[in-house]
Amino acid sequence: MNVKKYSPLLLAALGLTACGGGGDAALESAIRKALKDGQVTTEEWQDLQAQSANGPYSDCAKLLTLVEQVNANVRQKAEQLPSCESVKKAEQKTALSFALFVENSNSMMGYFTGNTAFKDAMMDLGSRIEDKGKKNDYYFINDQPHKIGQDYEEFIQKMDRKTAIKVGNIRISKLDEMLGEAVRQVTEEGKTAILASDFIYDVNRQNPKDAFPKLKYSIKGKLQKLRERGDYGLLLLKMSSLYDGKYYDYQDRPTSIKEERPYYICILGKNAQLQEMYLHYDLKSIRGFEEAIIFYQPDGQAYYHSVLGQSYKAGQFSRPRGQELIQAIEKPELDKRSGSFEMALAVDLSTLPAPASYALDKLNYSVDGGNFSIKEILPLATAEIHKNDQRYLGTASHIFILESSELPKDNFEIKLALKKQLPAWVAAAHTEDDRKIKEQMDKTLGLQYWVSGISEAFNELGEDNHYFQIKLAVSN
């Protein structure tokens, strides 16, 4: 072929090809640039999404496929590419916008008097959410929500008794309706709702034992609607503050008190947002913080775990060969001297959205299979790990020592689960009769009912309700 003769034609064809693929070529070039350092950061991914917004790769999955194709052809391949799920979670985390409700009914006025931890906590919380640079709404709430505005400074100015007492009908305090409004803000406005309240339900002089079951199921019903709308959850903080004022018992008889009393902060929103808040907002450092619990339906997240081959071991067992982690064991045998079998399981609970004390209490766990029980739960820092087991630790944060004195002869499965159950502080802070409030200053009327309502709303009916479950296959 005469190359010289056809060269203009070839050049024209090459030019046309280049022009035709212009859009994708630019995107591919951007992807190559992003992959240069062997990873695609969140910022780079957002740039790629912006670049492909109006083209054929506007869909996350399609863009990801293109990134995978480009990654397969570059010299330095990225080992881990973002998933659409992780991108979605990251977007949820950055899209936080809050509606902060502060109950200002009569029963709350004691918390507004003087320099109390309650006021401090509200302003601190307001400041923390304001730092995120989003437009937040601030409300007082009693018979209905009363908007303070979107200005944090204005919110601070109004956090005093003189202002709070003038807003709305402070004689009315309908806990279930307040939660209903918070749910509405979450589901309809797409916000994360924060509700600060003493959570003392106005029973209209009825016997609390008659009124509270209704309250429980009313709350459960409202929150079930929230859960049915998507992956929402509720973070409950137990707080404490000086209460200087009149406390009205369920028969509306006032008692003057000036002592520490509990109050609560409910945070409702997307699970990812709540977990982000729980793990990274350092809520424990808010003045008056005492306890926390998060209610949500786990998404089946896999928790890192591995049996340790030599640490805290009694008896013998083998493991499947060629595996990096020990997630199954073979031929377990009792220790001939002690007559028991013990093994250690390393688990990463660092991302568990539950208080550390909850995760360390073995009563909160269930162990099924092989007559096993938990002997001890140790934070990794205090555990003595054999040098040979360092390789199995990975990101583990806790060591579970499991024991059994009778091993089945057939193959079986050990299921270790952290049960979703109300922490002990709920029962400890509950009372059904607040007429002698001075003798029970640390208690809240009907607490257990409405916390049970919340808990049941986030539990699947008839399902095993647990934060996580780890399964270990045992073959004989």
């Binding site: 030599q310 083998s318 060969r321 060629g322 054999h386 040979n388 360092q390």
Partner: protein, 129 residues
């Protein structure tokens, strides 16, 4: 090969170290050593020293002991070094135990070689007996 020798050795050997020996491919190498060293030892004795002055049990015993000792030392020190490099820490007695087991196989193999090779030699038909 690693799997084959693992099965063979574990017929008479059990220890907490077995999985790591397998994962670090030590069974394969140790298996070859426990076969090749006695075969080579017997070959050298019966064909390298096929002379009348080596007839009897003394020269045979020396060759036998040297072969088994070589196998024992390799199967002790090499796995210890390889596992140490892999960051694994087991007591020396564990390696001695493993090495003793491979040496038992070496003894058997040397004996088999003795019965096979001596009939093909000119002078050592009656070595050791």
């Amino acid at each position: 090969m690693n799997g084959f020798f693992a099965k063979m050795i574990e017929l008479i050997y059990s220890s907490q170290m077995t999985n790591d020996l397998y994962d670090n491919n030590i069974y394969g190498v140790a298996g070859l050593v426990m076969i090749l060293v006695p075969v080579l030892g017997a070959l050298i004795f019966y064909f390298g020293f096929d002379k009348a002055r080596y007839v009897g049990w003394k020269a045979w015993a020396l060759s036998f002991l040297l072969s088994i000792l070589t196998c024992f030392l390799i199967c002790w020190l090499w796995p210890q070094s390889a596992m140490g490099k892999a960051g694994l820490d087991y007591a020396s007695s564990e390696y001695v135990y493993f090495s003793a087991i491979t040496s038992i196989y070496s003894v058997i193999i040397f004996m088999i070689c003795t019965f096979v090779f001596r009939f093909r030699t000119t002078n050592l038909l009656h070595s050791p007996f």
